[in-house]
């Protein structure tokens, strides 16, 4: 397959034969195809973003009043203890999510990719099922599962490790356990998704490479390092970056899990939740916009790395 997209020179001979109408509709087609999207996108995607950018240079006190403050919002962010907590929590969540989710997902994918494993579809479904539940309902469910004394998680942990986990071990009420609880719920929710990506990548690795490696006398472990890992690298990087970006935009899960708040001692406060609280609870939409734009810049940075590494959007320049 060539990477160049349709060029006019290539169409010309056939276009000459075609009717006038045919030529016109061909020229107009891309504009028509793109316009419904473009109109909606500009109106409901781009315009509010620009408006919120303007808003971020204001302090809005109460709904009526916007006082122009220039870059003061961004200055205050640098000294705002809550924002720092939010950034720290979000980064900690992102770190542990990546550190736990990806190796677990990779491990499961490797186990499942063994050619002799039976019931692969069933296992895959079992691992993927939590993701289907969706973050809102996972949060509702785990809100009950994490309850002390009667919740499933404490029941199981107490059964396994009675000395470490008393039945009234608190997850969501104890500031130092909220983050582990969030990471745990996130792990349960997302590991199946990552596994699906990685499994597909492993299965798509060129089989000839394994044979070549075997001929060269590589054992299973060497094959993994020499063939599998390089083969799935782009997908692994994609999963790494999307899960990092997703973690940075965390909102639903902690918000509902912690009964619509940041949890004890702000231990579940994330950047987006902080944005939501300052904007829609305290009522300073300007400051919230500044928080949003700070987050957006961070996420943009990560996304650019992602696009660069995976080499998406190759080809439209030719």
């Amino acid at each position: 397959m060539t990477t160049t997209t349709l060029e006019h020179s290539a169409v010309e001979p056939s276009a000459q034969r075609a009717s006038q109408w045919h030529r016109v509709q061909h020229r107009l087609a891309p504009y028509l195809f793109v316009s419904p999207f473009l109109i909606l996108f500009v109106l409901f995607g781009a315009w509010p973003i620009i408006k919120s950018l303007v808003l971020s240079t204001y302090t809005t006190n109460g709904p009526k009043d916007a006082v122009y403050v220039g870059a003061k919002n961004f200055q205050f962010l640098l000294s705002d203890a809550d924002f720092h907590v939010a950034v720290k929590n979000t980064a900690v969540f992102a770190f542990w999510s990546v550190v736990l989710q990806l190796p677990t997902a990779l491990g499961l994918a490797i186990l499942l990719s063994q050619p002799w494993v039976r019931g692969r579809a069933l296992f895959r479904l079992a691992f993927f099922a939590p993701y289907l539940v969706g973050s809102v309902f996972v949060a509702v469910l785990f809100n009950v599962l994490f309850q002390p004394q009667y919740g499933l998680i404490n029941t199981v942990l107490h059964f396994l490790l009675p000395s470490h986990f008393p039945l009234d071990y608190k997850w969501l009420e104890d500031a130092s356990h909220v983050m582990p609880a969030l990471v745990l719920a996130g792990l349960w929710l997302y590991v199946g998704l990552h596994m699906i990506y990685l499994l597909a990548a492993i299965q798509a690795v060129d089989k000839d490479l394994y044979e070549a490696a075997q001929v060269d006398g590589a054992n299973t472990r060497q094959q993994f390092w020499a063939v599998t890992l390089p083969g799935i690298r782009p997908v692994a990087i994609f999963v790494l970056l999307t899960s990092t970006i997703g973690s940075f935009q965390l909102f639903d899960l902690p918000y509902i899990l912690l009964n619509n708040g940041p949890g004890p001692n702000q231990s579940g406060l994330t950047i987006v939740m902080y944005l939501y609280n300052t904007g829609f609870v305290t009522g300073d939409l300007g400051y919230a916009s500044a928080v949003g734009w700070t987050l957006a810049l961070g996420v943009l940075l990560i996304s650019l790395i992602q696009l660069r590494v995976t080499g998406a959007f190759k080809g439209e320049n030719e």
């Binding site: 006190n61 709904p63 039945l167 608190k170 001692n265 609870v281 009522g283």
Partner: protein
């Protein structure tokens, strides 16, 4: 069909579902009302009785009232979004006490709610209602909300277990008495004397209010790190942490229900509204629960505090503030109605005259035939003032953070250096609130 539909079976199925459900929804649209007044409330407990009484008002004033039940958390975010965009703002809103002050920011003339001070004084409500309850809805001397309730606090206790253990409740006058008995009855990890949150501020603040402290002074300056705040914290933390803890928390809802039934908690901090939740949620404890006044800090000091609240405000967008005011009076001042409503909610209205309605002194079988309305009413005049500021939500979070930090410190170090730590922590957190408030250019 399959051959010509380019997106495959699943998409076709969705198209089908979309058309069928859309058609059904199109045939059953939401009733669109052209109302003279739109009124948002956030809890079914208020909504249900209002639906009964509003038709009377509509008849009397020949108008249409559109009463809407808006989710508690949505009420703030949606009102904020509505007021920001100046659109779709209701005429009247009931808002929980924690969220209302966020709307009092900005210059007085731009506060989202109408200043009710004048109307309140004209109607004589300042004297007819519990004055302490205006404080949470007052900003810079102007009252923006009518108090829905008083919410005095008592303790609900397992009278069967107390009887079994030979506890004489009438001897519990002060917290010292209470704690002494609590130490005897508490069995670590199995039974605690009292449910107290050790991770958020709701119960700590009630204790602070009881001692005359608070988050803010009447001018709206943050003061929870003052001496009263420090003393409350020093006293509160050993109750929920360390080797002699007699209180704790395990969660809410059904978990709590189960814990009360199992005798895990013997007492609950119980404002009037919670007595209704207990009746509803723990029906099996009927005849085994009783109320006692909150133990006093010292002999002869107040036997109550306060927890929660609701205000009714008229928004600046209201086209007919007089009619809205009439509705507010209709809902909050009708003694007969209030008496009837009390039976369904257990909530003591702010209008003092209403407390003499017979329903308040009715014995309640659930509470071993205690006339709980009268008990709450007796404490109501002592309900402490709580002053507020637009930064109340932040202040609550910060006090909660300070509590968590102090609990952690106490668990690790005990009394060793505890007081300086408490003082420093409270100051640090209060400073954060003050820093936030200092950004306010008004």
């Amino acid at each position: 069909m399959m051959r010509t539909f380019p997106f495959g079976t699943a998409a076709l199925l969705m198209l089908f579902c979309s058309i069928v459900s859309g058609a059904w929804l199109g045939l059953h649209p939401a009733a669109q009302k052209q109302a003279d007044l739109t009124f948002w409330t956030f809890t079914k407990i208020h909504y249900d009785p209002y639906t009964e009484t509003i038709p009377t008002f509509e008849q009397q004033h020949h108008c249409k009232v559109d009463l809407q039940l808006v989710d508690t958390r949505a009420v703030t975010s949606r009102l904020q979004a509505a007021m920001l965009s100046d659109v779709d703002v209701p005429d009247l809103v009931e808002i929980p006490i924690d969220f209302a002050p966020a709307f009092f920011r900005g210059p007085l003339e731009h506060v989202g709610f109408i200043d009710l001070t004048q109307r309140i004084h004209q109607a004589g409500l300042w004297d007819k209602m519990v004055q302490a309850r205006f404080a949470p809805y007052t900003s810079r001397g102007h009252i923006f909300g009518l108090p829905h309730d008083v919410h005095p606090v008592q303790l609900a206790y397992r009278s069967d277990i107390f009887a079994q253990e030979g506890v004489d409740v009438s001897k519990i006058k002060t917290w010292d008495d209470f704690i002494r008995i609590g130490r005897k009855l508490t069995i670590p990890n199995k039974r605690y004397m009292l449910e107290l949150y050790d991770f958020r501020s709701a119960h700590l603040e009630a204790c602070m209010f009881q001692r005359g402290g608070g988050y803010f002074d009447p001018q709206g300056h943050c003061i929870f790190d003052n001496d009263i705040g420090v003393q409350t914290m020093l006293w509160f933390v050993p109750l929920v942490a360390g080797p002699h803890k007699i209180a704790g928390s395990i969660g809410s809802g059904q978990i709590l229900t189960q814990a009360v039934e199992d005798g895990y908690f013997l007492c609950l901090v119980c404002p009037d509204w919670r007595s209704k939740s207990i009746e509803k949620d723990i029906p099996r404890m009927a005849g085994k629960m009783k109320l006692m006044p909150l133990p006093a800090v010292t002999a002869n000091s107040r036997h109550t505090s306060t927890w929660g609240g609701t205000m009714l405000g008229i928004t600046r967008h209201c086209k007919n503030p007089d009619l809205a005011w009439q509705l507010a009076l209709h809902l909050y001042l009708n003694k007969k109605e209030l008496g009837k409503r009390y039976e369904g909610t257990n909530i003591l209205p702010a209008l003092r005259a209403a407390w003499s309605e017979p329903s308040f002194s009715q014995p309640r079988p659930y509470w071993c035939n205690q006339p709980i309305g009268a008990l709450y009413a007796k404490l109501a005049p002592d309900v402490p003032f709580q002053y507020t500021s637009p930064f109340i939500a932040t202040a609550k979070d910060k006090l909660g953070e300070a509590l968590v930090a102090c609990v952690q410190y106490y668990n690790a170090n005990g009394d060793n250096g505890f007081e300086p730590f408490v003082r420093a922590t409270l100051k640090e957190k209060a400073d954060q609130v003050r820093a936030l408030a200092a950004r306010n250019p008004y």
